[in-house]
Symmetry: C2
Subunit: 152 residues, 2 copies
């Protein structure tokens, strides 16, 4: 926050980075959510929907790890997508504790209809940076995300 040296050079740099990360992410998120709304889905619903569309059937636990939310939350999101008829649960035969979640035919159809449009909007938003900048930013964010993942 601010440009004055309050906590030492390193700390000021880190704090400023954290603020900018939170802001950029919140702003991007808000715009993405507004786009997703057009398809009648909330952002977390879309995240699950997209993961299933791209990666196919997943267990509840895998979904949680993929979109970084807790198990209880996955249950609610999948409940809501199930109510819309977009996904279905199947209990695994090998391990009857496990539930596989997958898109229904209707879900697959919507995914094909909708994701291309969403991708275009995201591309448009990202284009406020040059491709070179996007590549650089992607690389740095990947490094940051991976390094932090295992810290507790």
């Amino acid at each position: 926050m601010g440009t004055t040296k309050q906590y030492g050079r390193k700390a000021d740099l880190a704090l400023s980075l954290w603020v900018k990360l939170a802001r950029a992410s919140a702003t991007f998120s808000r715009l993405s959510a507004k786009d997703i709304e057009r398809y009648g889905l909330t952002q977390p619903q879309f995240a699950v929907f997209e993961a299933l569309g791209h990666l196919g059937s997943m267990t509840t636990g895998e979904i949680g790890k993929k979109i970084l939310v807790t198990g209880g939350c996955v249950t609610v999101i999948v409940d809501n997508l199930e109510k819309e008829g977009l996904v279905e649960r199947t209990r695994s035969n090998e391990d009857r504790r496990v539930i596989q979640v997958q898109l229904t035919a209707k879900g697959e159809q919507l995914f094909r209809d909708v994701f291309q449009q969403h991708a275009e909007r995201i591309t448009e938003l990202a284009s406020v940076l040059t491709e070179e900048e996007q590549i650089q930013l992607s690389g740095l964010l990947k490094k940051l995300g991976l390094a932090l993942k295992d810290i507790h």
Copy 2:
């Protein structure tokens, strides 16, 4: 999102950027929240607390713009901080619709005791990147955040 070209080079780049931004931010946020918990505050409470500590008295509306939440949410957060005795509301004399929020003496005290520690933790987390990388990343995030801010 995988590495295959599904939606064209530009779109794949943008989608991948978005995923990495969301992940890095969520992970950083989770770790920051865990640190903040030690001080008995939630993350949004801490965001308001910090803004007031660094910038002094602000109106409810200014706080919302600063930490990117809606007015209704600011009301609740300030309510909770007020219950803890950390902030107080004062109605403005120039414009009686306006409410100024500021740290109490107790709030100031806690801020001094606590923020240095939090800054150290954030610095530690950020140190998974070199200073050079932090500066680069900060610059790119700033550009992205500013450019997106005014898009609707």
